[in-house]
Symmetry: C2
Amino acid sequence: MTGMENRIKELRKAKKMSQEELANHCRVSRQTINAIENNKYDPSLALAFELAKILGVTVDELFKYKKGENS
Amino acid sequence: MTGMENRIKELRKAKKMSQEELANHCRVSRQTINAIENNKYDPSLALAFELAKILGVTVDELFKYKKGENS
DNA sequence: TAAAGATGTAAAATATCTTTTACATTTCGG
DNA sequence: CCGAAATGTAAAAGATATTTTACATCTTTA
């Protein structure tokens, strides 16, 4: 749907964080986190790096790019 | 300026590619490559992954996130 | 089971990224 | 040096990401 898969929800839960806590950590809205977790759209590159840092993984580990484009 | 440093120009030249060739490879305009190389703005996450793949590195190797925000 | 907390969703406004067109300047091979 | 290729830049339009407000639906847990 966005050409990207991510492990944010999984890693966030492993850290027992709510969407709101994660949002506050990276200074975006809770809706932004929710939208990204549910693949409504991809984060900006800067936000991807913030998320990866907070969740303790690399950007490449956090996101998997699905080539071939979407529908 | 964008909160991000990148090694695109360096790696592109190492592969003896022009901005236009790289642009064609990832199906964006030459101006987009030029703007990103010169830090006018950051690429989308999807484009960051495309660029990394074409240049043979990971996203984390291609971009360095400079925390602390901008000006 | 009632209240609180967490999550999903939506519309409108704003910000950011990308394209297109167009032209100017720099770099490089003949 | 001359021409061609590569690069820098800019403005307007279009696409995508993010915020704000607001409300509905789970899911805890007391």
